[in-house]
Symmetry: C2
Subunit: 339 residues, 2 copies
């Protein structure tokens, strides 16, 4: 098969690789229906997170089960399935406590920007849809694999409740789906921070009540104005930079919460400052596997339409253009369709 | 009156100062029944937290209302009262949300190691006991003012629940009362980290089920052993150093919680490490005012005996010896009694 490999900064190649095979009896092989480029793929793409060797890319995926190992029990050939960007056994204590992304046997997915993809611990990782989905539903189902699940976790980690005042830092796909998640959880006021008209529009469609274009300290000031000088109950940090993290922490009210899901790059927190900020902090890789049944159900019933974050659709073989478009912020998120 | 002033590292003086007077109509003047030396007083005492000028010391206090300003409505002359180490109006949005220690008009108490003490915002800050307490109850009531309230907050911030597994980092008065708080909140396993026999004994009396003498990475390993390789649901950080903070974070299970109440001195957190640790973090100055009615009730009814943390009682004029004994770890906590 031909699939996506990153060789170095901005050097994405679509090249011949061996087809994946069942390695462990708990594996499944999926025929990918749709994959995509993640904001977090841009860290290594830009060379900010160096890679040691050519690396197969892609960790968001939906597809049809092509083959299963001899020990796979719940997942069947021919099912349409969604998995998390973290493979998990779904049986260890960490999974039991609701953190499959911290599974004691976890593996981070890689190589899903391809026509075929091997998923270890298939029974633990994958959830099947009730039946074969319509084509139009596939983008929304695909978001559950990472960006919707991650936005959902940001809102959960930030303790969003009915009536909450929420601020969202970051207008990428995760931030936008953080807005959608906060809305689903009953937030009353949702302040989206964005300077980009198309993203502002989608944020509003997903439930944002206010848009703040300022960043850093000025952004914090605007949020204080919009919350009567108190700060937001919940802040979703969906970027991963020092500026975004501090903006999030300073935007939360005393006793409020920050859910941070942007993978931190060069972020340092001063203990004393954090102490006097008096905010709840929670973040990490989203426990997507835990959310799969609920989020599949919401998409399946047409309650939410997270697939709108895909504003660029490309055949898989043009994956390099998908990276370029996102790197240059011409696209929010690029959907990749194998032949 | 003669009262306590810190002039510089290890230079505590008990010297003549003006009696406090009503300054604002919302003030009250207390005749102090008991005060004490706090672990946090040792930071400036040791010169780790420099003071710019001679500083009146003491922020934990119980006493009888001697005088009230013209605007004081709920607090009466002659009442026995307890206040928080943070003065608060108890009406602003931050107080309303349960964080009086983040009150928009807050002031940090100072100068309570004295026979008379001025309390601003008396109606917001002070709570009266049902009647005049017996002398033996006074030490326990005094702990509510800071160390018990702070240990209680550590347990609350660390989400201690019925059946929780809890680890407590720090065997000072706050750590010991963190053990007591976790026990009151229904924790099943409470691991106290202490090398000091007298403190281990009191920790066990307060509900500790296990004692760990190791520190740093070795301490973390022991906690992992005691929790079947999973980590603790809740960890109370009651020290404020880098080592203690990292020990706390690494001792919590995935998805677990760290409540940190040791005032951080030179603590820095790496964002990426925190992200992959996947723990809830909450800390800050304890919202003691919110706990006062409940904790007074528990002491009043004899359910808890937090006053046992005082293992040294001195006349107020010997306050300097109280500091020395705590600095040299000869005493857990020194009770100071004015004439």
């Amino acid at each position: 098969m031909k699939s996506t490999v990153l060789y170095g900064p901005r050097d994405i190649r679509f090249e011949q690789r061996d087809d994946p095979k069942i390695v462990e009896p708990t594996d499944a092989i999926l025929r990918i229906s749709a994959a995509c480029v993640c904001g977090s793929d841009l860290w290594p793409y830009r060379g900010i997170q160096p890679i040691g060797k050519p690396t197969p890319m892609g960790h968001e995926y939906v597809g049809v089960v092509e083959e299963i190992g001899s020990a796979v029990k719940t997942i069947k050939r021919g099912q349409f399935v969604i998995g998390s960007f973290v493979f998990s056994d779904n049986t260890c204590p960490n999974c039991h406590y609701g953190y499959p992304s911290g599974c004691m046997n976890r593996e981070f997915a890689s190589g899903a920007q391809a026509p075929l993809f091997r998923v270890p611990m298939a029974d633990g990782t994958l959830v099947a849809t009730p039946s074969m989905p319509d084509r139009e539903m596939i983008p929304s189902l695909l978001t559950i694999s990472d960006v919707l699940g991650t936005g959902w976790f940001a809102a959960e980690a930030a303790n969003v409740r009915t009536g909450s005042t929420v601020a969202v830092v970051g207008d990428g796909a995760v931030g936008l789906l953080g807005v959608l998640s906060a809305k689903e959880m009953g937030a009353e006021q949702i302040i989206a921070m964005s300077r980009h008209p198309a993203r502002q529009k989608l944020a509003k469609e997903y439930g944002a009540t206010d848009i703040v274009t300022e960043r850093g300290d000025e952004g914090v000031e605007r949020i204080m104005e919009l919350t009567k000088g108190v700060g937001a109950d919940s802040v979703l940090e969906c970027v991963g930079t020092q500026e975004a993290m501090m903006q999030a922490i300073h935007s939360a009210r005393t006793g409020g919460s920050v859910g941070y899901v942007g993978v931190p790059h060069g972020v340092t927190l001063d203990g004393e400052e954090l102490f006097f900020e008096h905010v709840h902090l929670m973040g990490g890789p989203a426990p997507v596997r835990r959310y799969l049944p609920d989020l599949i159900d919401r998409v399946w019933k047409g309650k939410i339409n997270p697939g709108k974050v895909f504003d660029l659709t490309l055949p898989l073989e043009q994956v390099a253009e998908g990276y370029r478009a996102m790197d240059e912020r011409r696209a929010i998120k690029a959907l990749l369709l194998p032949d």
